[in-house]
Symmetry: C2
Subunit: 256 residues, 2 copies
């Protein structure tokens, strides 16, 4: 199986390394930035290009792991009808390939990727979709070489999954970042928060996040909430975030 | 050393069990609700009462683990000047004891407590404060029986630490709860989000939360943000939370 990988960012990097570990060769890597294509290609023994016109037209699989905003344009410019075309974007519908290929679909790994942290795909949930049964089966077989948690999801489902991931990962991480700023103000390092953050997540093995909720908002402790808001008086944007999330917690539990 | 424990909630329960494990006997447990006092007392072989007038006046240490809102009133009503008086509240200053005792202070464990999950205090950061060097040393010695990460923190520092914990734990957990609602809407279980949440936290061993940020807001991907907001059109409060946190992420990184 010959794979062309389009992209050299966080997702593409982790995909390339995983393919290599599984002895699946990548024929070519494309990135708009030649240095990025070259760097990743060297790591996985592949050829590389930054020219869409040079992309190998004989590959079996074209894997698109590029920013959402450029995906459509790249598909249009590559314009190779043969092979199986797969994108990895949570919020782009499968129809982005309509009219540009015969066999296509989606392989969406639900994970947060960085270039530097190696990701083991084995237990990452992968959401796949194909434009036909044949495409879907081929994507399934390919996914199955990398991981053991594969789900079929429509473009509508995948969009919701992506949205939920923004809350579960991106927004929770931003909460950690705000917490880090505030402990620094108190003269302490982020290290002191780690046992708390670990336990916050460990609890979810025993109970739902709904059951796990603690803190002033869920017990309607207006005294503490007002003290905290006054501590944030000189950070009006943080005070606003504090207020709106607290109100939403309070409302979520008053419905019970 | 004779300890009276005032409270039978989440923190009091975990404290009582930890004292017992360390062979420190609890003489008496008070709770407003007799059943709660009795239940915890039976677990740790202590006497119990729901009557503040019956609280043992000969104890060495009085540990207050009650809701912030009732702490001041309980201190006033107990009115025992002897012994070492210690509260466990993040946001209540040490001065709450002024005029009610000679030796007093604070023992604030930075953790999220539930009655059902046993907490190992050993590596939990504890923030202590005493009204005198003698009080502080006694609180330190007591804390040292339970754990190995003890920090001296003023009431002002402790308030900020508590505020940061609300972001790090309470608000991140609420993000997990919202994510759970949204994956359910897509027809999937919370289980699919766990590898993502685990990795979100694991990353913090390698990088700061500032460096770990991913997602549409940090890369200013307006397309995805608008799609997500339209998915939340029938949930205006969630759309508002999404918008405000995304704007704050975007602003945090545009300062760079």
């Amino acid at each position: 199986m010959d794979i062309v990988l389009i992209g050299a960012g966080n997702v593409a990097t982790q995909l390339a390394k995983t393919f290599q570990k599984k002895n699946i060769s990548i024929r070519q890597i494309y990135s708009r930035t030649l240095e990025n294509a070259q760097k990743l290609a060297e790591e996985v023994n592949s050829s590389f290009t930054n020219n869409l016109a040079e992309i190998d037209r004989q590959a079996d699989v074209y894997f698109y792991a590029v920013k959402d905003i450029v995906l459509e344009e790249i598909i249009r410019k590559i314009n190779i009808r043969e092979g199986l075309h797969i994108h990895t974007a949570g919020s782009i519908p499968i129809s982005v390939f309509d009219g540009f290929a015969e066999k296509y679909g989606v392989f969406y790994p639900l994970q947060t990727f960085s270039k530097t942290r190696e990701i083991d795909f084995t237990h990452i949930p992968i959401f796949i979709e194909g434009n036909s049964l044949v495409s879907e089966q081929q994507i399934f077989q390919l996914a199955h070489l990398l991981c053991d948690k594969i789900f079929i999801a429509s473009s509508e489902q995948r969009q919701l999954i992506h949205l939920s991931a923004v809350f579960a990962c991106n927004f929770s991480n931003h909460m950690f970042n705000i917490a880090n700023e505030i402990v620094a103000q108190a003269g302490f390092s982020f290290e002191i928060l780690k046992p708390l953050i670990d336990e916050t997540v460990q609890k979810l093995n025993d109970m739902t996040p709904f059951e796990a909720q603690t803190g002033p908002a869920v017990r309607n402790d207006e005294n503490v909430i007002q003290k905290h808001l006054s501590l944030l008086a000189n950070r009006p944007e943080l005070a606003n975030i504090y207020k709106i999330i607290s109100e939403h917690i309070s409302k979520t539990y008053s419905k019970q």
